[in-house]
Symmetry: C2
Subunit: 194 residues, 2 copies
């Protein structure tokens, strides 16, 4: 999506250690016009898939997922993170490795909010190694719901998480796929998705 | 707001210890139609206040704040919570006592995203003792921005946080104000706001 790629080039900041900061428009301050355009694009890609539930994970994916849920006129469920492991029997859960925070955490969704009759679209702002996404996919599987696909704002293509999931047959739609970044020059190269 | 009050009566669950669970439609699974109606109502209450920024706090307020920001066609900023206290000089911050989690945490907003030229509407899903809200108000003050008011979905009126802030002159608009709850019967009484 050209608007997002241009915005990343203009306002994204590249740091050592594969860090791309997009705090000014995606995950601290959020440009709602950009988010609306992204939500419209996800809607056009997944319309006709009978999606009746949007699933995301707290916290920074929630804003985009809410706008997407508005487009699909369906409920949004956000998975909760927990560092305690006193999981209850009434939740679907899995363990996720955090690349950003260098720790493991549990991700939970109440069994009340996903069921075999659901068709789910997973939405998240970032996809790198794909750990969070794999956790959400696992939770959808546990629930017996159908997974229509995953909509991501920014995928770091060079970290391989998205392509590994595509090879397993999952539909992963990313609005911008970063193929390489150079912290010395700040330059960013995107995958051609035409 | 009658729709929200009726929904709380129908699907809210009252537990000992002043706990009102609204996980099925407000802060785990989110009913987007209800959120849209709430956002429309906030828009009509605060239209004409020249609001150019919505401020909320992660995580469960983000969905509502995103839909409200869409109505005002302005950016959303969400304050981040942190348990570490290595605060940087480039953030506004304050300490908040968590009633839910029985701990203190730091709340931060980058200085890049609030400035004296901004007119801010604070949005959150819950208001009880008002600790999180006081923290957000403090951050707005630190930034020199103007505060138009605060829009809350559910206020627990009997915990007094909202009325204390109203007495200090802040405009606090709550879509539903719970005056009393009875965990034995599940009954909930709302403040008449006509």
């Amino acid at each position: 999506m050209r608007d997002l790629e241009e915005r990343i080039k203009k306002d994204g900041k590249v740091f050592e250690g594969n860090i791309l900061k997009v705090d000014s428009f995606l995950n601290h301050q959020i440009d709602i016009d950009l988010l609306s355009a992204i939500a419209d694009d996800f809607y056009s890609k997944f319309a006709g898939c009978n999606i009746n539930k949007i699933l995301t994970i707290e916290a920074s994916g929630i804003a985009m997922a809410a706008i997407v849920a508005e487009r699909f006129a369906c409920p949004l469920v956000f998975a909760k993170k927990s560092k305690t492991s006193n999981l209850k029997s009434d939740v679907y859960s899995c363990k996720v490795d955090s690349f950003t925070h260098n720790c493991k955490f549990d991700v939970m969704v109440s069994k009340d909010y996903l069921c075999p009759e659901d068709t789910v679209l997973i939405i998240d702002d970032f996809l790198a190694l794909g750990n969070a996404l794999k956790g959400l996919i696992d939770i959808v599987k546990q629930s017996g719901a159908s997974l229509a696909g995953c909509g991501i704002a920014i995928e770091k293509g060079y970290q391989g998480g998205g392509d590994a999931l595509r090879e397993q047959g999952y539909r992963i739609e990313s609005m911008a796929i970063v193929e390489s970044m150079d912290p010395a020059t700040g330059s960013i190269v995107f995958r051609n998705q035409v």
